[in-house]
Symmetry: C2
Subunit: 459 residues, 2 copies
């Protein structure tokens, strides 16, 4: 297979470039036709790959591209998930070349070159690796598993129509494992596999004092100010060690063994470089855990938005009627978003002083996800990466949440392998997004090895 990849290297890249030229921005209705064109482009590329079936499924939003090849029903089936839509390119003036005019340039991290374009890494580049890896397996007679592909066009707008599609097509999507390349690895020479995602509980709170805005001169001091109150209430949700004070909040947290923590600590990390990259003097957070641990294996409580009173130019002496905040809690394995949301609500209502009334409104939540490192799918992925990189991958927890992963698990009963090849420096969602050619080809090389080892383990 290595030879096949080498011989078709240039074409593999040119096809990706053609895909990157299509501005499939799902968030902006004016790109609707382009999003469709990207789906059509994929359909045609799949049709060149001796699939059994290739279809575009319309949804209430952007279409889903589905393809499958069943070699032998006794073989395990890999369901590949990816997305062909991209984030908006704004702020466009910060791009050094057109976001939809892909160019290859070298960077310090990528002396072999990287392809610069919106979606280069997230997720067109990483998703397209799976088509070319599949081609490689088919053309060289090495397809050891059945393969199904579900490539959606709404990931960047919350996958709003995906769940209905999954529920309606459970039989068609039946598989043994889901394989996704939409995350990153620690470094080009430090391969890693994402084994855990945090869950999410997201609430909006409102603190109401007087029934109208008051004059802060005439009433100030006499009446509780909802903004002052909301700052006190929010501040009280964490103690001086940044431990969350909501009763019962930590009850279900799956504590991580010292062994696993020391494994995690082997990931290369430089605190000063980390601080410099976002221009802060020092990190901060829960006492007793490292920066990386706090960002991945520990739950959090962050205010994502706050507003109240006069926020225009200049000064206005209003004692406002109310104040609001959006607060999210990242959850770790075994914490239940609905339970946490209820604990938050009960606590927040309880700590409200009598001088105000509070309202807590839940927004969406998401369950944490965990792929055990002793599972078949993890072992297969680990062996594949080790063979391709010559180095055993480090299992890492991500601090983010990908709600569709727990959705897949719930509806299809499948675990997901997050075998991503991106790097933190790829600037996804930002101007000058790029994806290393090294990473692109390494991904194409690694994916067939996953199929191989997974088939072996499952035999």
């Amino acid at each position: 297979m290595h030879n096949y990849i080498q011989e078709n290297k240039e074409r593999f890249l040119n096809e990706l470039i053609d895909l990157l030229k299509i501005p499939s921005v799902s968030a902006d209705p004016s790109f609707k036709g382009d999003v469709s064109n990207a789906a059509q482009f994929l359909k045609e590329r799949f049709q060149e790959l001796e699939m059994d079936r290739v279809e575009i499924y319309p949804t209430n939003g952007h279409p889903i591209v589905y393809a499958e090849k069943i070699v032998d029903t006794s073989l395990p089936t890999v369901l590949v998930y990816g997305h062909y839509d991209v984030q908006p390119a704004d702020p466009i003036e910060l791009w050094h070349s057109g976001p939809f005019e892909p160019v290859i340039k070298t960077t310090e991290i990528h002396p072999e070159g990287a392809i610069f374009a919106r979606g280069a890494c997230d997720d067109k580049g990483q998703m397209y690796m799976h088509l070319k890896a599949f081609e490689t397996m088919v053309k060289t007679g090495n397809l050891d598993c059945n393969a199904k592909f579900i490539i959606e066009g709404e990931e960047e707008v919350g996958s709003v129509n995906l769940e209905a599609f999954i529920r309606a097509n459970q039989a068609m999507l039946a598989a043994d494992v889901i394989l996704v390349s939409d995350t990153g690895m620690l470094a080009k020479d430090v391969p890693s596999i994402t084994t855990g995602l945090r869950g999410l509980s997201y609430v909006e709170v409102e603190v109401v004092g007087p029934n109208r805005d008051l004059h802060s001169g005439l009433y100030g001091g006499a009446v509780a100010n909802p903004i002052n109150v909301i700052t006190e209430m929010i501040a009280s949700l964490q103690d001086e060690n940044k431990h969350i004070t909501i009763p019962g909040f930590y009850d279900d947290v799956l504590e991580i063994s010292d062994e696993e923590r020391s494994e995690m600590a082997k990931a290369p990390y430089n605190e000063m470089a980390y601080c410099n990259s976002i221009d802060i003097k020092e990190t901060a957070g829960e006492k007793g855990f490292s920066t990386l641990e706090r960002a991945t294996i520990r739950p959090t409580l962050d205010v994502n938005g706050i507003w109240g009173g006069y926020i225009g130019e200049g000064a206005k002496t209003v004692l406002p009627s109310k104040a609001n905040a959006k607060i999210s809690m990242r959850l770790v394995p075994n914490q239940d978003p609905e339970k946490i949301t209820q604990l938050f609500k009960d606590h927040f209502e309880k700590i409200a002083p009598k001088s105000v009334t509070v309202k807590v409104t839940p927004h969406h939540g998401g369950e944490p996800a965990l792929t055990p490192i002793d599972s078949d799918e993890y072992r297969a992925a680990s062996l594949a990466v080790e063979e391709a990189f010559g180095k055993k991958p480090i299992p890492v927890r991500s601090g983010g949440s990908i709600p569709i992963i727990s959705m897949f698990e719930k509806i299809l009963g499948l675990k997901t392998i997050l075998m991503g090849f991106g790097l933190d420096s790829d600037a996804i969602h930002s101007p000058n997004e790029h994806y290393g050619l090294f990473n692109y080809y390494k991904g194409i090389e690694t994916i067939p090895l996953f199929y191989k080892y997974y088939a072996q383990i499952k035999k």
Copy 2:
């Protein structure tokens, strides 16, 4: 004089009605012509009053009307200040009659009737009492002081051109006391005189963390969130007794004697009615002081506005780069706004954790004001009110700030008597503003008595 007022009662009211029909909304440029018309109207009314001089002074904004009558340079001179501009009428749909179509209706508090119109109390009604009181003194041969009138058209937009006018015309404005009716009294049968105003220190703060908005999944827990930090910092500015924790904040506060506090406590006040009027379950504030004391003789720290992160619809998991707040402190006599602003700035910068940077930007300030109750002007006002109402007025402190009062004191070296006849229920700045006919005529009756007693005391 009483007879003259009775005989001209109807005309006194009709003239005010004509003035109230002019929509002199200073904040809205589309009413510019109407504001001018109101100034012209006043000029004509002054010209009917045997003044020595009546003039309209243009400014960069709306004009100032000036009038004077010097009876005898050996007599004391009263400088009357008022304003003929009004607040916008919005929300107009809540008015029961047109804001500029004055009607007389009775209310529970005003069985004799009240005039409903924007500006009825603030300040056209209260200001026009001074013209009619002056007319009464002149026509009945009772003008015991020289009189000067400065009636501006920009009070509701911050008196932006007043200071320059005062500075440029100090000789013309030379007087012994300033008399203003632009405040209220405790109740129709509880006359009071405002003897103190709070000052103001107003700052804007910015708390900056990372140099860009971060993903709260990837960075949450690892990095200080500027909104969480600003809530902690603001919450820490007051202790559990709502005492302000800024070092030195209370150093210059003129503590009030137990005697004066018990005098103040005689003012009629019903905590439950107060709470009901703004629909709160209970008041809150600094321990050890009554609600009225907290609103008047104690300094405060109120957040007037706060904003940061995502404040649109729905949920966005951003760890924002920064958070901002507008914070004002009401000050009491002897506190210096500039000193307090500096103390705030020093303290706020000091308590900032190293994980963020903070910026404190001062907005405008204002000095507290105090008219001692043993001063000549207060004694004259007290005697006047006592004669008119048959009851000694209660000296009260207002929690608000009227920066022009300390400006007058600084530039002209004059103390101000705030002899207001409005009631809290008059709904100034709100829909259905009104002014009791009782209050209007009582004001016209009281003002000449102030001139009389002031001339006697100064003799």
